[in-house]
């Protein structure tokens, strides 16, 4: 590993933090509170055209021909494109590039993009779309993975290496799982299912393209992966990357739902190039449901073995993953569905056999807690079953299996810091677990679950040895420090964290730092906001860059004051000595530095160390650090109606170090909210005709403020040796335990094991009925 990646977890100025670890307002907070912040759809350019997309009404069909003549003839229409205009295929993972911006010969789900029109306004573009005649030859649609496997022809994608509608298959085995099961004192075995959910960020996808007068193209887009989008645009449009500028304006939520390149980005760009005018393409809420990339439905079979004291001896998993119509991140999803289960518990043998299958439905992809939320649900419910069999407290069972710190998992992942034991302590204490669990009246219960998640991944989506995270810094006599980074702030507050780091290192007030982010012309490359990587990787890059500048400022001051650099303290916007002598506004210190070293600037980089198991796929799931979470969930179930009311969630999360506790708590609460809502309400359903059951925010029931439980965020710090000042991720890990902890709470309340998500009132009532029948 390069030395540049290691900064140590200590605070820069003799071990005391002055900015970080304290609540800080967000750099864009005031702009968001006043409505001044501009999101993509808020931008308007002179002469701008509006585009709309024509979509497939069929779940699976061949396109015989497309007639766009009438659409082109409509008054106000400036451009019409079809698959023939953008034939180059793409996909976020280089090995599975199976998407095109518009269908070239085949549509694969209801809502697949077929054509796009740019016109003077949206209504005209919409009317023109209705005039496009598409001659479809309808093909049989496969709407479940079983159906798709049983009917390999006509294949959803032709792929010689992976026939039979299989998108990806991974089977990995570590240790002797079958032997462990044969010798186990206890074996718990069962089936679980996850239903499929979507991100439903409140901002719909939007892209705005401008053909610049100098022959270049600028695209503003609601994306969380500016850099990958930049590459994909160059590929599909056939333009040199230096001719394309991608900018992510303020982003209205993403959760993984904006981490693929999408049809609208290519279409807006192509239409702008064709018409010579700026083109905006905003998808309707209904279209966002077709864009999807949501959490994969999974059918999961788990067999967990233990000895008589509850020490786990083996875990055996079989997963059938419903991928929808395209690959998206599916290769990674399939690995993650197994690779990320091997903590926070230690078990000596493990096998997973995961198959992702194409179906004629909106494509699934990465959603907050990518690939690992569903398996975590199944496994943590099985741990509860095991505890029940052994008559052990479920928290005690988990304590008996702690993986611990500075160790290696069964699948070869390096674990450094690990605060999971304290997470368990925290939720146990805060929830009154010992006094209350198992003692509450019927219908009222508590459940626990734990999890582990990555802080960034070792595996950039296209292999390369360049830095994964980068920043550039400039400071000058004005007293302002500007940080440029390709990192995408998607609402999680990454720009605020980076500003805090720079302020801490250079001793300026956070308000004296400006962050310019996610603009490919201005900012050094960063891979984007996914896999919970930004704080860890770009945070380290920011420290790297800021320390280079700090050295120059210190050298200039030391020379001026004739003191040793170690005696100097930069803090609160002033330069001085630790002993209190000397006091200079930072602006003047910067003048000294600029005088001595001339124009001031620095870059900072981060790259992961070499990590991962020594086997095919061993680097997928390898992370420079892992976060840990435990939840206790409290429920009340109405036995008459079957309605589960989640009353409270205690969320203890090991984020390494909370660089801004308000932001960390916000990520923890937002994660738990989403997990509980997925367990109780949300259901991304495609009906037996391939139609979305309800592509609206009314039919897809999001939890309102009334439905959401009280959320208590309990921050645990383990001070990671490689994280920026010891920090790890907080944005995805804390979602995982919500679902199993809720299921386990229902068991505590009623003695029911719910294994099929979501836990609708109908399912609860059915389970109650079977329970009554079994009892009578």
């Amino acid at each position: 590993m390069a030395a540049r990646d290691q900064h140590g977890p200590q605070a820069p100025w003799r071990g005391e933090f002055r900015v970080l670890t304290k609540p800080q307002r967000k750099v864009d907070g005031a702009a968001k509170a006043t409505g001044e912040a501009l999101f993509t759809d808020d931008l308007a350019l002179p002469g701008m055209l509006y585009a709309r997309t024509l979509r497939s009404p069929h779940a699976h069909a061949r396109i015989r021909s497309i007639d766009t003549q009438a659409a082109r003839a409509l008054d106000g229409v400036h451009g019409v494109i079809t698959g023939a205009d953008l034939p180059q295929s793409y996909g976020v993972i280089p090995w599975t590039q199976d998407e095109t911006a518009l269908a070239t010969d085949r549509v694969r789900f209801v809502g697949d993009e077929v054509a796009a029109v740019a016109a003077v306004d949206e209504r005209t573009a919409e009317a023109a779309c209705a005039l496009i005649e598409v001659d479809f030859e309808v093909l049989p649609a496969r709407l479940t993975p079983e159906e798709a496997l049983a009917n390999p022809e006509p294949a959803i994608h032709h792929n010689e290496r992976r026939p039979g509608n299989i998108s990806k298959h991974v089977k990995l085995e570590f240790g002797d799982v079958d032997g462990a099961a044969a010798q186990a004192a206890q074996v718990v075995e069962g089936d679980f299912s996850f239903h499929g959910t979507t991100h439903a960020a409140i901002e719909p996808h939007c892209a705005l393209a401008r053909p610049d007068a100098d022959g270049r193209l600028t695209l503003w887009s609601a994306t969380q992966i500016t850099h990958y989008l930049h590459r994909a645009l160059a590929l599909v449009l056939g333009l040199a990357p230096e001719k394309i500028r991608v900018i992510q304006p303020c982003l209205g939520g993403a959760f993984g739902g904006k981490s693929d390149p999408f049809s609208l980005e290519f279409c807006a760009a192509k239409l702008a190039l064709i018409t010579g005018r700026p083109v905006k393409l905003l998808w309707t809420r209904e279209e966002v449901f077709y864009a999807h990339r949501g959490r994969h439905p999974m059918q999961m079979h788990y067999r967990t073995s233990s000895d008589g004291e509850g020490h786990l001896t083996g875990v055996d998993a079989r997963l059938l993953i419903d991928g929808g119509a395209y690959s998206s991140f599916g290769l990674v999803t399939t690995y993650y569905s197994g690779q990320l289960l091997t903590g926070p518990y230690d078990f000596p043998s493990y096998r997973f056999d995961a198959t992702r299958v194409f179906t004629n439905k909106p494509p699934c992809g990465p959603k907050r807690g990518h690939g690992s939320v569903q398996p975590r649900f199944a496994f943590e419910v099985q741990l509860d079953e095991l505890a029940e069999r052994l008559q052990l407290d479920p928290i005690e069972l988990r304590r008996r299996n702690l993986l611990g710190e500075n160790t290696t998992t069964v699948n070869g992942q390096r674990i450094t810091s690990n605060g999971f034991a304290r997470c368990l302590d925290e939720v146990e204490r805060a929830s009154g677990w010992r006094e209350r669990r198992g003692r509450l009246p019927r219908g009222h219960g508590l459940g626990v679950a734990g999890s582990m998640y990555i802080s960034g991944t070792n595996y950039p989506v296209y292999p390369n040895d360049m830095p994964q995270g980068g920043v550039q810094l400039k400071l000058d006599r004005s007293g302002l420090v500007t940080l440029f980074t390709g990192a995408n702030d998607i609402g999680q507050g990454s720009s605020t964290v980076l500003a805090g780091i720079v302020a801490e290192e250079l001793g300026v007030e956070p308000e004296a730092v400006r962050v310019v982010a996610a603009d490919t012309d201005l900012c050094p490359v960063d891979l984007g906001a996914y896999s919970s990587r930004v704080t860890f990787m770009v945070g380290n890059a920011a420290i790297d860059g800021a320390r280079k500048l700090r050295r120059q400022v210190l050298a200039a001051l030391a020379q001026e004051w004739e003191v040793a650099e170690e005696e100097i303290l930069l803090a609160g916007g002033r330069a001085g000595l630790f002993n209190g002598d000397r006091d200079l506004p930072m602006r003047e210190a910067f003048v000294l530095a600029e005088t001595r070293f001339e124009t001031l600037g620095a870059t900072g980089s981060y790259n992961t160390p070499t990590l991962g198991g020594d086997y095919r796929g061993g680097t997928i799931g390898a992370s420079p650090a892992y976060s840990f979470t435990a939840h206790v969930v409290e429920v009340r179930v109405d036995c008459e109606t079957g309605v589960i009311r989640c009353e409270k969630v205690w969320i203890a999360h090991d984020c390494g170090r909370a660089l801004n506790p308000v932001l960390v708590a916000g990520q923890m609460e937002g994660s738990a909210y989403m997990g509980i809502a997925e367990a109780l309400f949300e259901h991304h359903t495609i009906n037996s005709r391939g139609l979305h059951a309800g592509p609206s925010l009314l039919d897809y029931p999001l939890a309102t403020s009334v439905d959401t439980p009280e959320l208590a965020a309990l921050i645990v710090e383990s001070i990671d040796p490689e994280g920026p000042y010891g920090a790890k991720e907080a944005g995805e890990g804390p979602l995982h335990p919500s679902l199993p902890a809720l299921a386990n709470a229902v068991h505590d309340a009623l003695g029911l094991r719910l294994r099929e998500l979501p836990f609708t009132p109908g399912r609860v009532l059915r389970a109650l009925r079977s329970q009554a029948e079994a009892g009578s």
Binding site: K32, G253, R285, G666
Partner: protein, 190 residues
């Protein structure tokens, strides 16, 4: 096209709009008030909430032609109106950049992506107008038409409580993560 006369954030504005134009379209596209957001255009998300004579309404379900002569307040109107009030009343000690509810949202971390926030802040402002010390349940009720996908509502509710506490001169209520945690286990993690 019809000529409309709308009173927005204290100013009377005349503009031409199609008879079916919604208030959301007119605010965003004709008046450039893009703080009012479109999350669904169907009345499901609350992102387009504005105040009509002080009451929250969904701009995407409101025909612009029908609200002529009424007092329309968008997110852009809050802070300037607050500054005007501060300037007029010498007793108001704080002359902040932000309206107190906006300030509380910023301070409490309630603004994650910020897309729901203009609607949220306006709904919260209307609530605090009629009840300056709302219970948690009342806050949850009052905001239930505004979907937020980022925060889990907790920091939003805390922001409303903070604004209420600030108004009453009370201490702020501690948040879960501000309570003292247990001591780290002595013997490490294994």
């Amino acid at each position: 096209m019809e000529v409309l006369s709308l009173k927005v954030n204290g100013d009377t504005r005349c503009l031409a709009a199609a008879p079916q134009a919604t208030l959301l379209e007119v605010l965003r596209e004709e008046l450039g008030l893009t703080g009012c957001k479109q999350g669904c255009d169907k009345g499901d998300c609350g992102a387009c909430t504005v105040l009509l004579d002080g009451q929250p309404v969904l701009a995407c379900l409101t025909l612009a032609a029908l609200v002529q002569g009424r007092e329309i307040t968008t997110i852009e109107g809050l802070a300037p109106a607050h500054r005007r009030r501060c300037a007029e009343s010498p007793c108001a000690s704080k002359q902040d950049k932000l309206h107190p509810v906006q300030d509380a949202f910023d301070e409490a971390g309630a603004l994650q992506c910020g897309f729901c926030q203009s609607g949220m802040i306006l709904s919260a402002t209307a609530l605090l107008q009629r009840d300056d010390d709302p219970k948690r349940e009342t806050i949850r009720e009052a905001l239930s038409g505004n979907l937020c996908r980022c925060t889990g509502y907790t920091q939003i509710i805390e922001a409303v409580e903070r604004a209420s506490d600030e108004h009453a001169g009370r201490e702020h209520r501690p948040r879960a993560w501000e309570q003292p945690a247990t001591e780290p286990a002595g013997e490490g993690e294994s």
